[in-house]
């Protein structure tokens, strides 16, 4: 009788621990694609105002990192990822196809800006990337 009660207690505890772990994992994986896109747009805007090409490129890298996420093509681990706590990248996390298209367009503009070493051209591309995310 006592053994059965002990077993029931152990099973209940195991259930509680498993439930808590699953809840924690789900919470850790919860993504916020809207915030990721907003952060990408903020950094595109900062790139558009950059005084030097290095500043423009740095913020464009942040834009790309937010859009593609750590597992995405073009992610640069040497640069900061301002969206690391928000999810796996705006494009992979977005389910809405229209929004995904906007984000992909913004990504193309940001990548174009990264390829250019001309300050004016890179800033223009950054402005277009920001506009695409609105």
């Amino acid at each position: 009788m006592q053994q059965r009660s002990r077993l029931a207690t152990h099973l209940s505890l195991a259930g509680i621990v498993t439930g808590s772990l699953m809840y924690s994992l789900a919470a850790a994986q919860a993504a916020d694609p809207a915030q990721e896109a907003a952060t990408a747009a903020t950094h595109a805007g900062l790139a558009a105002q950059g005084a030097a090409i290095e500043q423009v490129h740095m913020h464009l890298h942040h834009t790309v990192n937010c859009l593609v996420g750590p597992k995405g093509q073009g992610f640069d681990a040497k640069e900061a990822n301002p969206c690391q706590k928000l999810g796996n990248g705006a494009i992979p996390d977005t389910t809405d196809s229209a929004l995904k298209a906007k984000e992909s367009a913004a990504l193309a503009k940001a990548e174009a800006g990264l390829k250019s070493n001309d300050l004016t051209a890179a800033r223009k591309a950054a402005t277009e990337a920001q506009a695409a995310l609105k």
């Binding site: 903020t42 290095e54 500043q55 740095m58 040497k78 640069e79 900061a80 301002p82 690391q84």
Partner: protein, 115 residues
């Protein structure tokens, strides 16, 4: 022998109490915003290379040369506990000095100018 160990114990307790009082005073001064000048919020040792590079390229400084443009008055800044305590910068995704500044500074709608 017992007298000696009692003395030693009392000495240890006195030192421990002094440490606790010092720690509490320091915590209270930060919380109340009475942290002395020279507060450093972004210690290079606590930042990754990418984060250090970002701050370098953005010309982050712990003390703004312009009292009207400080992190405290920036839209990307979230204040810490107490007016003078370190806060968080959304752009750097890390700590920032309320009296600091960087090139990404943008006025917050409810901006207050430091004097």
């Amino acid at each position: 022998m017992d007298h000696d160990s009692g003395e030693a114990r009392r000495g240890t307790l006195r030192r421990l109490s002094a440490c606790c009082v010092a720690a509490a005073t320091s915590g209270i001064s930060v919380a109340l915003g009475t942290e002395p000048e020279g507060l450093v919020c972004a210690r290079p040792g606590a930042l990754s290379e990418a984060q250090q590079r970002q701050r370098r390229l953005d010309n982050y400084t712990e003390k703004s040369p312009d009292p009207g443009k400080t992190c405290r008055a920036c839209r990307f800044f979230t204040p810490g506990l107490g007016a003078a305590a370190c806060g968080q910068c959304a752009i750097f995704d890390g700590p920032a000095n309320p009296k600091g500044k960087c090139d990404d500074w943008a006025a917050r709608p409810d901006a207050q100018i430091d004097r």
